[in-house]
């Protein structure tokens, strides 16, 4: 059953944040969190295409075992830059910087984030970091792997390591500033009545993500700083020739980079926690547990980094301890998955595009998360570490999970951001294409890993070819699945059907204001008296609640200030 907004045809509001002021300066010097979100949307999309281009080169090259398309050095640059672009410049900022920025003030009833100028600064920092990295890419590229292991990156590599390291270092501060802004905003800027446990789970997810951002990112900053110093000025912490230790680099690097994967997935989980209640028209099952699980993932996520280093020859006891902790961090994600599933039971489910993405997320994150068990288990990890099994595992989570969440959220909130709806049937087709293309691309890679194909290989033994060909075929379908939304979402922003205030309808505060919102978000600060996702107590949504709405009365949307 498809959601149909009821009532007369909605009209575009006269004044909103997009037409409040005109000119390039009003965009480049804006402090409006919504405009900054769109600035980020443009830049992360650019880097998504750059990373996607490198991915295309990788998959095309791997069609044949002898690698006729690219030279070894060029291939090594392709996979490195694919990783750097996608992780640091797309995945980590994506949902927080685009959707978090846009929505958090709206969801909590605030006029803006706590520090609007710092928000703008964070975008410029991202851009400067991005420019350094782009410079590295066009000046010979980077071939160390996105993990920059020493001494390969600091001593032996002949590629443009220094500018890339500087670029990633700088962009890290964008992440830190965003996290800082979110944490403070959620603490001090909530509207009256918006208590902690009435917050949408999207906000909880971003709170947990922000904790990870501010505690983890400085560590990778200093690590890359030291690595850069080593490459440029001969400092020796990671150089065995000087008594330094390459494994120290790995510890410092993974201390951030493991929590970083939670920076990438927690916001997506937050999106799913909005989509499922909305499109099942039912409260999220176990709200408190899901909120607690987000925090648990953030905290325990800091305690597992050495599971990336089980075969480095470190202490056996350390390995056992970290494997144990790794299994612990799996549990909150399982809890969330069960809660999302339970929400469906007794719901009233529609299959609008955002919900299709939520279903896709459930299936793909399930596979990705469960395959983590093979890797967290020491006995099996020895065998599949650094093979395509790992590559498949993280792509299932980062693409099957995070990108599905990103796209689902983009579709869900596109009417709020632009005031217009995207074309529903085209969007559903694109979602299916994505899902099918994704599985064809990455499932064969699990097989390759089990068969023993190592990762980061520009040539491979011929017995691995069939699965590589399958994977490349899937990738071409996946590419179509990505291009379609780029095109129709852009089209819809200008020519889509006018959406109105709350087309779904959904229960969040962001839907109690016009689409697109005013610059200051709300004409009058809302006063919140309802729980999250409380379809049974929201007469303003115009839905049929058996037995009438509950005793709690919703305050008028535009109450006294």
């Amino acid at each position: 059953m498809r959601t149909q907004p009821t009532g007369p045809e909605p009209q575009m509001p006269e004044k909103h944040y997009l037409n409040a002021t005109y000119g390039i300066r009003s965009w480049l010097l804006t402090t409006d969190h919504k405009r900054i979100a769109l600035l980020y949307l443009a830049s992360v999309t650019l880097f998504f295409f750059i990373g996607g281009f490198f991915a295309m080169m990788i998959r095309l090259h791997l069609l044949t075992p002898n690698g006729y398309l690219l030279s070894a050095d060029t291939y090594n640059r392709m996979f490195t830059m694919h990783g750097v672009a996608m992780i640091f410049f797309f995945l980590i900022p994506s949902i927080p910087a685009v959707m978090g920025n846009f929505l958090i003030p709206l969801m909590i009833g605030a006029k803006d984030l706590a520090f609007p100028k710092i928000n703008l600064l964070s975008w410029y920092v991202y851009v400067v970091g991005g420019m350094f990295t782009l410079w590295s890419m066009v000046n010979g590229g980077l071939d160390t792997g996105w993990t920059f292991y020493t001494p390969l990156s600091t001593v032996y590599s002949n590629s443009a390591v220094a500018p890339a390291v500087v670029g990633v270092f700088i962009t890290g501060f964008s992440s830190i500033l965003t996290g800082l802004n979110f944490l403070v905003t959620i603490h001090t800027m909530r509207a009256p009545g918006m208590t902690w446990f009435r917050l949408p789970l999207f906000v909880w997810a971003h709170y947990a993500t922000s904790i990870v951002m501010i505690l983890g990112t400085p560590v990778v900053a200093i690590t890359l700083g030291l690595a850069g110093m080593e490459r440029l000025f001969g400092l020796g912490f990671f150089n065995p020739a000087m008594g330094g230790d390459p494994i120290l680099f790995q510890h410092l690097f993974w201390f951030y980079s493991h929590p970083a994967v939670y920076i990438m997935i927690l916001p997506a989980m937050g999106v799913i926690s909005e989509l499922i209640p909305t499109f099942a028209r039912k409260k999220l099952f176990g709200y408190h547990f899901v909120a607690a699980a987000s925090l648990a993932i953030a905290v325990i996520g800091f305690l597992v980094w050495t599971h990336h280093m089980f075969v480095t020859g470190q202490s056996t006891y350390a390995a056992v301890a970290f494997s144990f902790l790794t299994f612990l961090v799996a549990i909150p994600s399982a809890v969330k998955t069960f809660n999302w599933t339970a929400t469906l039971f007794g719901g009233s489910i529609s299959f609008d595009t955002p919900m299709l993405y939520a279903f896709g997320f459930l299936g793909l994150f399930l596979v990705g998360g469960l395959t983590g068990l093979f890797l967290g288990s020491l006995g099996t990890d020895i065998n599949i570490h650094d093979t395509y099994f790992v590559v498949a595992h993280f792509h299932y989570i980062m693409v099957g999970g995070a990108v599905m969440g990103y796209l689902g959220g983009l579709h869900f909130w596109w009417p709020k951001i632009t005031g217009r709806m995207y074309p529903e049937w085209l969007a559903r087709i694109a979602a299916f294409i994505l899902f099918i293309g994704f599985n064809f691309t990455f499932f064969p890679q699990f097989i390759l890993g089990i068969m023993g194909m190592p990762r980061r290989y520009h040539v491979y033994p011929p017995e691995f070819q069939i699965y590589n060909v399958m994977s490349t075929a899937g990738a071409s379908i996946l590419a179509v699945g990505y291009l379609l939304p780029m095109v129709y979402l852009t089209w819809a922003a200008f020519y889509g059907k006018v959406a109105g205030e709350n087309p779904w309808p959904a229960t969040g505060l962001e839907w109690k204001t016009q689409s697109p919102p005013l610059t200051e978000n709300f004409e009058v600060t809302p006063v919140v008296t309802w729980e999250a996702y409380d379809f049974h107590n929201r007469p303003d949504l115009g839905l049929d609640v058996p037995g009438g709405h509950g005793p709690r009365i919703v305050a008028p949307a535009h109450g006294d200030d």
């Binding site: 059953m1 070894a72 050095d73 090594n76 160390t144 792997g145 390969l152 001593v155 032996y156 590599s157 065995p240 020739a241 330094g244 390459p246 494994i247 099942a280 028209r281 039912k282 409260k283 176990g286 709200y287 408190h288 547990f289 089980f310 075969v311 020859g313 144990f324 299994f327 549990i331 399982a334 809890v335 069960f338 809660n339 599933t341 469906l344 007794g346 719901g347 009233s348 489910i349 279903f359 299936g363 469960l370 093979f374 967290g376 288990s377 020491l378 006995g379 099996t380 020895i382 065998n383 650094d386 097989i447 023993g452 190592p454 990762r455 980061r456 290989y457 040539v459 379809f535 839905l543």
Partner: protein, 327 residues
Amino acid sequence: MQSPLPIFPEQASNFAGNVDALFLFILMTTLFFAVLVTVLVIFAAFKFRRKSEKEVGDEVEGNLVLEIGWTLIPLVIALGIFAWGAVIYVNYRIAPRDTLDVYVIGKQWMWKLQQPNGRKEINELHVPVNRNIKLIMGSEDVIHDFYVPAFRVKMDVVPGRYNTMWFRPTKVGKYHFFCSQYCGTNHAVMGGWVTVMDPAEYAAWLSGESGDVNPVSAGEKLFTQLACVTCHLANGTGRAPSLNGVYGAKVLLADGSTVTADEAYIRESILQPKAKIVAGYQPVMPTFQGLVTEEQILNLTAYIKSLQSQPVPAKGAGIAPAAAGKK
């Protein structure tokens, strides 16, 4: 033992059976939960699909028993998997006492191995079946990794320290090994073969070698085996000059002088590569002193001689320009 699924490599070591069993257990468990959740989701999606436009779902907050249940049960299963994996790992990391020790050095982009009696190998490891083998491994430059899928074993080699790894091969045969820690340009070709032999054959192999009658083909095999081919690319794009046409020609050296590439020059280049550096190239060739016998040098020379008639690349040959014109 036969591998459980066709995609698994052969099981050729003492660890393989246990590792595969654990893998299968995890697979069964994860399949169970994956199917369970998938079925539940699909079922719910159909049973509770929206029937009228303004319908809402039921009012349900949650259920404490379920929450505790689906926290504790996965926790117990997870810890079970952890424990099994940890036991395998601890066993894997603590080598038994009576091992046959082989020294392994990884470097960009080849493996040098040394048997207990001093016999050296490049990109090959010969071991006897049913003996505990310990590899003591180091790196000359960056981090590499020695991975034998059929044995289910893998260990990084880290510069500045030694890492050890042990296994007991249980099946005679030849098994691929790979470098599986990204180490630069030729990471993907830095592999080779582990040959597991009967003890008697191993002993015989250790003390001597079987010769190949035809020196050129023996030399050609050596040229690949010793990884010369990774740098001396025939088309001249490698780190070392192409050897096509080099025998008998004049070679231009870095110091400006020229030398004729005769047998002595070839032998010197193999044993003391830094003595004469070809113009435009870096002195990165490792010495093969101690790694090749005189007989093998002769075979290599015969092979290189046979490259006289191969096409000389325009760029990347070591031949002095004037001499190239004459040819």
